[in-house]
């Protein structure tokens, strides 16, 4: 009989505790994230699709267009397009195209990249109904406001121009020499000794 009343009292007490807890939760702010209107800030180590790294000094990518990522990609999802520009050291990246439909996020490209020009992004909001939406030009993604032109080094440009001129001259000289030689060949009997002298010099 004593257990009977004890049960009632402890039972009522525990019920009251339960009500207190829900009341406390009712008065605190909801923690729901209203997804389409707002979304989660992803953790830094989340492995999304790759992206180009912006060099904080130059504001450009640090890709040297070696193509190691392209070669290392097991599914052939990457294609790097580059060109040589006058007055700019090395090659200039013109397009970095990632086909995300075949990418398996293995990270071989990030491993292979010597200058550390690519990394995993934190982007995860990628749902779409169109296949074309998954072919990313990472260069355009890095510079959404427009791809900036690489800075031209005037000294390098001068040197390059000189070099080009010298090359031109050399080419011209070579051409001339070739023309002379041809001319000499045409008349081998007439000026045989002259050609020998040229060889010596």
């Amino acid at each position: 009989m004593s257990g009977y009343f004890k049960d009632i009292i402890t039972g009522l007490k525990s019920l009251a505790v339960g009500l207190q807890i829900t009341n406390k939760e009712f008065l605190t702010k909801p923690i729901t994230l209203l997804y389409p209107h707002e979304s989660v800030k992803m953790y830094p180590r989340y492995r999304g699709h790759i992206e180009l790294v912006k060099d904080p000094e130059t504001g450009m990518n640090s890709c040297i267009c070696c193509g190691m990522c392209e070669k290392g990609c097991p599914s052939g999802s990457i294609s790097v397009k580059s060109e040589k520009r006058p007055g700019v050291k090395g090659k200039v990246l013109t397009a970095y195209i990632l086909n995300f439909t075949t990418c398996s996020l293995c990270g071989q490209c990030v491993e292979n990249c010597k200058p550390g020009a690519i990394r995993f992004s934190n982007e995860y909001n990628l749902a779409s109904t169109r296949r074309e939406d998954y072919i990313f030009n990472l260069l355009e993604k890095l510079h959404p406001e427009g791809i900036p032109e690489p800075e031209v080094d005037p000294e390098l440009l001068k040197k390059e121009l000189e070099k080009a001129e010298a090359a031109k001259k050399a080419a011209a000289a070579k051409k001339e020499a070739a023309a002379k030689q041809e001319a000499a060949k045409k008349e081998p009997a007439k000026e045989g000794g002259e050609s020998k002298a040229e060889e010596k010099s």
């Binding site: 339960g18 009500l19 939760e25 009712f26 729901t32």
Partner: protein, 327 residues
């Protein structure tokens, strides 16, 4: 003629009051559930999701009514209507204010209990008529639960009748006038167990309205959706509305019997606003309880009634009789 106008105006007022309550209690419940679980609840349809009941109603009304092949067709069709009838009818005796009573019966309390029993029957009819084993089990459960909980509820109501000497609900409220210690919950001079009696009545009304933790009739985990498993569209809608109507009636009755109905706690400006305030507070308690406690087992449910509520209400009845005779 005057009586006819009075009748018509009350019909319209009650239909409007009931409609508004049924629609927005659903909203209150979902919003309450959301915030208790630290969600936001409905918020997209209208400001604060206030148009959600309208959208839900339109959706339910646009659904096709499908009668299952092995259902008992007439019973299946009439059960949702039958469950709504007592829910609407019972408002006729509830005193919202001193002069705001649809009809003053001198047997109002008796009528309440008589028609409230029809609700349990309609659940059984719905469960039986669906031709589904889960619905049938749910119907049987609901009836045995209603039988078990009607006894302590009635005994407690008899205690009130003994104290006030009337079954007229408005008269019962009138006798609780003045300050709040005149309310039947705090009438310790009539029986020192009156607060316990209030608790018994409150628990019984929870069980009678088939609310969690006593919603054995529609426990989703075991019986799909209970007695309304086979109902779709407005058939289900009527069952849902009847549940909320019963909730309003249960809370109104508790307010009238124990909390002084339209009386002000400090004896100032009694009126319908006090009645509504107390009733909605009780309804909020129902919502609060629903989202706090898990469902009891069927064994625990009957155990609570037969081993705790009935003995306590009986003891209170005897004590009240003693107090009235002695003092």
């Amino acid at each position: 003629m005057n009586e006819l106008i009075r009748l018509l105006s009350y019909m319209i007022c009650i239909a409007a009051f009931l409609g508004l309550n049924l629609a927005y209690l659903g909203w209150v419940e979902r919003k309450g559930a959301g915030h208790i679980q630290r969600r936001t609840g409905p918020k997209d349809v209208g400001p604060y999701g206030l148009l959600q009941p309208l959208a839900d109603g339109l959706k339910l009304m646009s659904k096709q009514l499908i009668v299952p092949a092995n259902a008992d067709r007439p019973l299946y069709m009439c059960a949702p209507i039958l469950t709504m009838v007592p829910a609407v009818l019972l408002f006729v005796a509830i005193p919202f204010g001193e002069h705001l009573v649809p009809r003053e019966f001198n047997f109002g309390l008796l009528m309440m209990f008589a028609f409230a029993s029809v609700g349990g029957m309609s659940i059984l009819i719905g469960g039986w008529g669906s031709g589904n084993k889960y619905s049938l089990i749910a119907g049987a459960r609901a009836v045995s639960q209603n039988v078990a909980y009607e006894i302590p509820m009635l005994i407690t109501a008899i205690t009130i009748v003994m104290i006030t000497g009337s079954m007229d609900l408005n008269e019962i409220v009138r006798q609780q006038g003045g300050f709040f210690w005149n309310w039947n919950v705090f009438r310790l001079d009539k029986s020192i167990l009156m607060p316990v009696s209030f608790l018994v009545f409150f628990i019984c009304s929870l069980a009678e309205t088939n609310r969690t933790p006593f919603d054995m009739g529609e426990c989703e985990g075991e019986l799909v959706a209970g007695y309304h498993t086979e109902y779709g569209g407005m058939g289900f809608g009527l069952f849902m509305m009847a549940e909320y109507a019963n909730l309003v009636i249960g809370c109104s009755l508790t307010t009238v019997l124990f909390l002084g109905g339209w009386q002000c706690p400090f004896g100032l400006f009694p009126g319908p606003h006090w009645f509504l305030l107390k009733m909605y507070f009780l309804i909020w308690c129902f919502v609060w309880i629903r989202w706090t406690y898990p469902r009891t087992t069927f064994w625990g449910l009957l155990n609570l009634s037969w081993k705790y509520l009935i003995p306590f209400s009986l003891v209170n009845l005897l004590l009240t009789a003693l107090f009235i005779k002695v003092f």
